[in-house]
């Protein structure tokens, strides 16, 4: 099967100061994958995903979305396929009502009015925004405003969602809601990339992680592989979830990949197994 996103030997060099932001990155992403992109600020992760939206063009190498070379495509042409949800919803929201905000994208795509209206209703239901429909986006609190930002991309029905730090600055309740929405998006068939520092999101929600450091893709693997790789963790200053470290420290001697625990639930399971083993 043709991968949905195909990156071949991608280099990006910013003309200002001649800064190399991406160095020879190659990867494939298949339809329906749920991926975390991690790395420090300046590691190149934002530069990478901006190529998928068409906001940046390769200096060298190729990026294909659904088999199509992105180099000649405009952002607006890619918008129907790739949706980019900004970290700060205030960078996207401008309309007088939530409903108008949600209509903006699909209207720009030139969809007929009834189709737009239908999509808006679907988005309102999907994100649970029923009570906010006629409110001004700036009058609602930050957590919900962030959901409106996501919903305003959802109405464009892209195949690929790129979520930039979907949970930063959010409390636990909203964070859990966002995890659930991300899973629901994937269940509807979307491919989701989360650029994130939120370790719980990465450990418990995503299935594959891309780790960038100093403009290079240094690791592409499952959260279990990434979080148990000490060298990668230390050099990228990433701290795995506390429960993962606990499991690693309690089982220093016999570590197989299955012993790497990603959530409290898994830790409980592991304890149960070890209890039966002892008996």
């Amino acid at each position: 099967m043709e991968p949905l996103i195909k990156v071949e030997n991608l280099w990006h060099i910013y003309p200002v100061g001649n800064v190399t932001a991406l160095r020879d990155v190659s990867l494939n992403i298949n339809r329906g994958e749920l991926i975390g992109v991690i790395g420090q600020n300046g590691s190149g992760k934002t530069t990478l995903v901006k190529h998928f939206v068409g906001l940046l063009k390769p200096t060298r190498g190729k990026v294909y979305i659904d088999g199509e070379d992105t180099a000649p495509l405009k952002v607006q042409q890619l918008a129907a396929k790739v949706g980019y949800v900004y970290q700060n919803p205030n960078h996207q929201l401008f309309a007088r009502t939530v409903k108008a905000e949600l209509e903006f994208g699909p209207t720009n795509l030139g969809l007929p009015e009834d189709e737009v209206a239908e999509r808006v209703e679907q988005a309102i239901e999907f994100f649970g925004l029923e009570d906010l429909r006629d409110l001004h986006p700036y009058r609602i609190g930050f957590p919900l405003r962030k959901l409106v930002g996501m919903a305003s991309i959802y109405t464009m029905k892209p195949d690929i969602f790129i979520l930039d730090e979907p949970t930063t600055g959010q409390d636990n309740i909203t964070t859990r809601k966002v995890y659930h929405l991300i899973e629901k998006l994937r269940d509807e068939g979307a491919t989701v990339l989360c650029v994130a520092h939120d370790m719980i999101l990465l450990a418990e929600v995503v299935e594959r992680m891309l780790v960038l450091r100093d403009s290079e893709l240094i690791m592409d693997g499952t959260p279990r592989q990434v979080f148990s790789n000490h060298e990668v963790m230390a050099s990228t200053h990433i701290t795995p979830p506390q429960i993962t470290i606990l499991s690693l420290r309690l089982r220093k001697d016999q570590q197989t990949l299955d012993d790497v625990v990603l959530s409290v639930d898994e830790m409980i399971e592991l304890t149960k197994q070890s209890n039966t083993g002892k008996k």
Partner: protein, 296 residues
């Protein structure tokens, strides 16, 4: 968008002019401003312009100056085109040559050249001052001679805000483009401007709380961290800044023989070449500007 904006800020250096206190520089610039507005004499304005250019060269800011002048000069060329056919000068006008509905006037050419020189003289001197002084030093000096503290803060903040809002605008524009917004036209104004303004308001509100929490706005004696020294040479320059442009201004106002508007006679060939040259220069500039805007 960002590609077209050329910042007019300090060019680091260590020339005598860089090391000078900003106050005499500001005074000289003001003096040249006064002089330029007091005369239309091409020679006087030309000399002011020339000295300004020498200072540009001397202080090592030529490159930065040329970048600004490349925009300013072609735009100013329109003065020659417009003035030559419709002089801002008391009638009667002396016609030099006519073509079609247009007539080029003697007074127009004179007025066009002198306005062009006036603008170039003033901007050249102003750029020498701005490009050789740290903005903080300029503000500190102004504070010293009695500009209110808060007004000073507003100036500094505004200067800071311009590049910030510019980059915010870039982010917002990209955000909306990825929602399939067409990058230009009337429909793009609200979606790309509203978030920038809302962000700016939020920034200012948050900043004001933050500043107040740091005792900003206290009454009582204020001090200044940035120290701007006034050396002996600065006092001399300050004194000369009063004297020289002041005397020159007095001279150009009093000496009626400096009115060359009728004594200078332009030949038809010269006039046509000048006007055509200025017009073409401006159009070429417009052509490149539009191309740059479209590619950005």
């Amino acid at each position: 968008m960002q590609g077209i904006v050329i910042p007019i800020t300090m060019v680091p250096g260590n020339s005598t002019i860089h090391r000078m206190n900003p106050l005499p520089k500001l005074l000289w610039t003001l003096g040249i401003l006064a002089l330029s507005f007091s005369t239309r004499n091409i020679a006087v304005l030309g000399v002011a312009c020339l000295i300004g250019l020498l200072l540009v060269f001397y202080s090592g800011i030529t490159k930065a100056y040329v970048r600004v002048a490349m925009i300013l000069f072609p735009i100013s060329l329109t003065l020659i085109t417009l003035q030559s056919i419709a002089p801002a000068f008391p009638r009667p006008w002396t016609a030099i040559v006519g073509f079609g509905p247009f007539t080029i006037y003697q007074e127009g050419i004179y007025s066009g050249i002198s306005l062009l020189l006036r603008i170039m003289a003033m901007t050249t001197w102003a750029m020498v001052t701005i490009m050789t002084s740290h903005p903080s030093d300029i503000f500190t000096s102004l504070k010293k001679i009695g500009m209110p503290y808060v007004l000073n803060f507003i100036f500094v903040m505004t200067l800071q805000l311009i590049p910030i809002l510019q980059s915010e605008f870039g982010i917002v524009l990209n955000a909306q483009k990825s929602r399939a917004m067409k990058g230009s036209g009337f429909g793009a104004i609200l979606p790309s401007m509203v978030p920038v303004f809302v962000g700016a308001i939020e920034r200012v509100q948050q900043l004001s709380i933050s500043l107040e929490s740091r005792a900003f706005g206290s009454s009582g004696k204020k001090t200044s961290f940035r120290q701007v020294r006034m050396a002996f040479s600065d006092y001399v320059a300050l004194f000369l800044g009063f004297l020289v442009p002041g005397a020159a201004t007095y001279w150009v106002i009093v000496d009626k023989s400096l009115d060359w508007s009728h004594s200078m006679v332009f030949s038809p060939a010269f006039s046509i070449t000048l006007v055509l040259g200025a017009t073409i220069g401006f159009l070429v500039f417009v052509f490149f500007a539009i191309r740059a805007a479209l590619s950005a």
